[in-house]
């Protein structure tokens, strides 16, 4: 997905994990994914560079579709679609 597409995507759930460091964002993502249905898009906000690498790995293990990352001022928006 292009950056423009990601910025305009409709998000079913936004997880703001900017206040936590590894493995906090992953734990928050795990909790939040249970609250949305298959096919929904979730975004994880993280100020942590590591999370940007970790979330795609988590997605491939869990079968979710990693859509891409948008870099904002001082944090990342990481998008994924629940399987």
């Amino acid at each position: 997905m292009t950056q423009e597409e990601l910025k305009n995507i409709s998000v079913a759930k936004s997880v703001d994990a900017r206040g936590t460091a590894c493995p906090g964002p992953l734990l928050e993502a795990k909790k939040a994914i249970g609250t949305i249905i298959a096919g929904d898009v979730m975004e994880v906000l993280s100020a942590d560079e590591g999370t940007r690498v970790d979330i795609p790995k988590w997605c491939s293990k869990q079968g979710h579709e990693f859509l891409g990352t948008v870099e904002e001022n001082g944090y990342f928006r990481i998008f994924l679609r629940k399987k």
Binding site: G19, T20, A21, C22, P23, G24, L26, L27, A29, K30, D54, W58, K61, Q62
Partner: protein, 188 residues
């Protein structure tokens, strides 16, 4: 000629069947499971154990922690008392940290200044504290097994261990049997 070929094919078929059997047994013997032997009781090492275990649990990997020797200090509950110890056990009890908040750093401990500084930095940077990590671990179903032999050796009692939902007491055989099934085994 024809007979020879049939023989060879039969032989190959048998080899393929054998391979199939061993592959399926390999698949079954390795679960999506992490076995962690935790021997060190330093704050930094217990932190590493908890961070890796929580990441594994977030990936839906089953996590089994086996605590023995120095790491048992991290499982003591400082609010609990265990009366009736002999002299040596009492000495161990006094000299070893009472719970995860009192652990030392393996480097730069500086008579307790190091852990204070690390805790300050962790809070500032949004890293979960050890207490919070144990709470998350409990919620995610991470299992803790206490090595009973080393607990007795160090004079700790069950009465002074933390309240944790998935805590049990067992021996090295249990760890080995479960580690054998795990796809990942780690030692700290």
């Amino acid at each position: 000629m024809q007979e020879e070929l049939t023989k060879q094919i039969d032989h190959l078929q048998k080899e393929i069947d054998d391979l199939k059997t061993s592959v399926s047994s390999l698949k079954e013997s390795r679960k999506d499971q992490l076995s962690f032997a935790v021997v060190s009781g330093d704050m930094d090492k217990i932190l590493a154990v908890m961070v890796i275990s929580l990441a594994a649990a977030a990936l839906d990997t089953r996590v089994k922690l086996f605590f023995s020797f120095w790491s048992l200090s991290a499982l003591r509950d400082k609010k609990k008392k265990a009366p009736g110890k002999d002299f040596i056990s009492k000495m161990f009890g006094i000299m070893l940290p009472k719970g995860k908040t009192g652990l030392k750093l393996s480097k730069m401990n500086m008579a307790g200044m190091g852990p204070v500084m690390i805790k300050y930095l962790m809070k500032k940077q949004g890293v979960l504290s050890l207490e919070q990590m144990f709470e998350e671990a409990a919620a995610l179903g991470i299992e803790i097994t206490v090595c009973e032999m080393s607990m007795n050796l160090m004079g700790f009692k069950k009465e002074e261990m933390i309240d944790y939902p998935n805590l049990r007491y067992a021996g090295a055989t249990t760890f080995m049997a479960e580690a054998n099934e795990s796809s990942v085994q780690l030692f700290v």
